[in-house]
Subunit: 146 residues, 2 copies
């Protein structure tokens, strides 16, 4: 039951909260064992802060929750491929595992890093979980705005 | 009088505050015209948050000060070459200019991005300002700890 799809759906709920608040709809959760220890969604508009991405908010909440600045046993789920900033933050966190939904050709980290991984050598990476649902929310958001 | 050296000395004061608090001694200030609008120093230990770098703290303070999530007319001074996370944050900020002190072979963004700039196309970049002083503070810090 507590598989990657389950937690990605929780990240999608966060993304929907961003959508409802007229934010670019990206959501994230951090898990430890089978528990969600932190959540975050994009709040760049509300906080007037272009660094207030879902992953940054979820990571800082997770550090506070665990009482440690490293998260080697945790997994971060995020609906869209992390950008360069969030990839760098995930590197510093030494997070055990990253699971993302849809790729982001325009702003995903791949665009800048090419074949060099920005993550910690011990971090596992998995993409494409519920990718269609994750991408659809973004398409819906930008369709209304263009 | 208000030249790059002047503001880098202010960033160095921030770095010294980090040093005194037993944090990796990196400091940053953000300027707008000839005024400092935000300051930050590394607080990863104090906040138990591996993303609490000088630049992240200074940027968020600057967004709050200006009331905008973009800083195209501002300059960020930082004592050490930004890491990948902070470079990504600077990209999102659309900051007008970045001035750094010493290079960081181990953790600077160059290591991961190679010849691809992580910054916004309109952002000017200058390195090597008071590089020796900026690097010396780091050397002193790690010399005590090894």
């Amino acid at each position: 039951m507590f598989d990657d799809n389950y937690f990605m759906k929780e990240a999608l709920r966060q993304a929907q909260m961003a959508y409802d608040a007229k934010e670019i709809p990206i959501g994230a959760v951090v898990t430890w064992d089978t528990k969600i220890i932190a959540r975050g969604h994009n709040q760049t508009e509300q906080l007037n802060d272009s660094t207030a991405h879902a992953e940054m908010i979820a990571l800082t909440a997770a550090f506070n929750q665990v009482g440690s600045k490293y998260l080697p046993e945790a997994t971060l789920y995020v609906t869209i491929e992390p950008c360069l900033m969030c990839s760098g933050a995930l590197y510093w966190s030494k997070i055990g595992r990253i699971v993302y939904g849809a790729e982001d050709v325009k702003n995903g980290y791949h665009k800048t890093t090419g074949n060099t991984s920005p993550f910690h050598p011990k971090t596992e990476l998995k993409g494409g979980v519920l990718a269609e649902e994750c991408a659809q929310l973004m398409k819906d958001f930008f369709a209304v705005r263009r």
